[in-house]
Symmetry: C2
Subunit: 380 residues, 2 copies
Amino acid sequence: MNRSRTRAPAGVNLPALRHHNAALVLDLLRAAGAEGISRLELAEGTGLTPQAVSKITARLREDGLAAGAGLRPSTGGKPRTVLRLVPDAQFAVGLHLDRDGLTAVLVDLAGRPVAVTTAPLDLGAPAERVLADAADAVRDLCAAEPHKPVLGVGVAVPGPLDHRDGVLHRVTGFPRWDGYPLRAALAERTGLPVVLDKDTNAAALALALGGAGGGDFAYLHLGTGLGAGLVLGGEVHRGARTGAGEFGHQTLQLDGPLCGCGGRGCIEALCLAAEARGDRGEAARVLGTGAANLVGLLDIDRVVLGGRTVAADEDAYVRGVRAVIEERAARGGAGAGVTVTVAGGGDRPVAEGAAQLVLAPVFGRIGEEKRVGEEKEDRG
Amino acid sequence: MNRSRTRAPAGVNLPALRHHNAALVLDLLRAAGAEGISRLELAEGTGLTPQAVSKITARLREDGLAAGAGLRPSTGGKPRTVLRLVPDAQFAVGLHLDRDGLTAVLVDLAGRPVAVTTAPLDLGAPAERVLADAADAVRDLCAAEPHKPVLGVGVAVPGPLDHRDGVLHRVTGFPRWDGYPLRAALAERTGLPVVLDKDTNAAALALALGGAGGGDFAYLHLGTGLGAGLVLGGEVHRGARTGAGEFGHQTLQLDGPLCGCGGRGCIEALCLAAEARGDRGEAARVLGTGAANLVGLLDIDRVVLGGRTVAADEDAYVRGVRAVIEERAARGGAGAGVTVTVAGGGDRPVAEGAAQLVLAPVFGRIGEEKRVGEEKEDRG
DNA sequence: TGCACTTTGGCAACAGCGTTGCTTAAGTGG
DNA sequence: CCACTTAAGCAACGCTGTTGCCAAAGTGCA
């Protein structure tokens, strides 16, 4: 009786099944990239029969989402036909609303950016103004690929927010946005579906789909603050209220120095203080200790570092974090085989990840259950 | 190309769809308990049409898994027929192998124990001996409900292990078990399917299904050591190598006192040291700080405490942990509305949770994807 | 008491899914 | 040139949930 509320209705009928399997095939096509993938490999990857894959791919080709891409060398019989995703069949817009700037990007189905816009932005300005700027950026980008369907707009924002409702909370430093229904407002302005998420989650999603291996991982963003994006089981973990990933204010030093949040011994405070006094080794060690805690708690495969502070000296941070994790693993603790890397690419991955928020359902990554029994609106 | 390995083949065909929907209905029937649930409520809960629910429940009734249970009062028309789960249609065995004792329980489909056995056990004894004791306990319990199908045996064990392979790792204090394929060995002995998991995960699963509300939560077990079981998105989070939940050796005090694991400032060391010197308030504060970290990182709804050390003074621990979380929430951090409770029931929930490891797939909770394309063995 | 109305739930027909059995296409190798 | 191998489509099929319709079983007012 109580669980019926906590679990979304997940009954599956035939259209939902069809959509699910098609998304699965599309996901494999995307992962295969430009080199493509054969029908039999798709069958193996999905667990479906080759005949079912043939039917599904035939539909995808009819819809213009897939196309043939040559033949494999024969292995003694008829050579396999290679299929590939048609990346420019559909597009999505990614928007990164930061404290001082706006980055907008139009990506194709493969996630590759085909147009990028950056502009200064004052998050402290009236909502109408910010909204207008954002809507303008979306309109300009859509003009880059006229007559091609744009699936929607993904928006990445710094502060706390609710991914489900698309409502902002107290964006740090900009209390005016508290309770603002950004998703609904932007959807009305643009006439497109809008998805809202935290910037760290968008970055994590971009990394999860960015080719650099699968597995569970944590993206740790160290800029003026410290936050995390978690990918567990191949999906972004947001928690019930999109609050997951509050990494900066984890206590790492009981009764430690006071932090801006009012707590004591927060990772963020310790890390930034060390960085401020020039002790980058200590900053990396603090970050690494927090990362090692996370690795042990969630049993993740990799840690990815990003943000301006890390970018200032990537090597030092990677080595420092890696050292702490490896030391703990060597003692018999968790963390053996965990890789530590940097995200690279500056802030653009955030905007691209925001666009992936829109693309994810197409490939069956998230938001699947919302479609059951609903009719999709078709917008041109 | 790389993602095909990280993601299990999830293609869905018609038998899989049928099983999925039937499991969904069974889950709602279980949640409804003895008071039952009507077809229309099932339809609303699953998102399927009433007619589909009628077909599915008809099959369940034929299989003896569901039965009628009276009528609802009429609301102006034909009264609804109430359906309920038939709990004693099938059973499952739960085994809790602890360092010094063995608890075995036979539960029905509703998760209620119908027979319990406890016996002393020496985990340091030869594997043959431990295995024989476990198999005997299983045989004795099965005799309690003869001629009724037993779905399998769930086994909860303290140390690190691999849930997927069913292989033990270095069980703390008992290095001999390292690499022992307990699942396969016990499956051969008993002739039943066996599922292996950590004791904290089993306890968490029992709590997740134990009626006390849904939502994501963490079970923190403080006994001779400190571990955690995480339930995220309604399912137990194990991580890729079943390593998730290593909570005791999270660093909470940089350069703090040395821990038995070789690290410094581990929660476990700080907490148990405070407890040893009689400072229970400090022990609770340490535990609460770790819990607050976890609440912020994962955005969970509740924290459940358990274990012998907590049981010695439940009030002190609950109040202490709650105080830390509420203080952080009051400052504007995460944790508003998070409840802190104790598990209660001593160690028996672990054995019951172990049995739930076997029942979970029946209700579509976990291990769904393994069934696609495979034929289930039927054992009587 | 009887009739109108509401609500439940099953029967029958149906569209559409992946599967199976078979055929055709398109290569390699002796 | 022929035997063999492998890939991929066609047709028939079983089974899914859905739809349209109707019987069953109540309530409530005349």
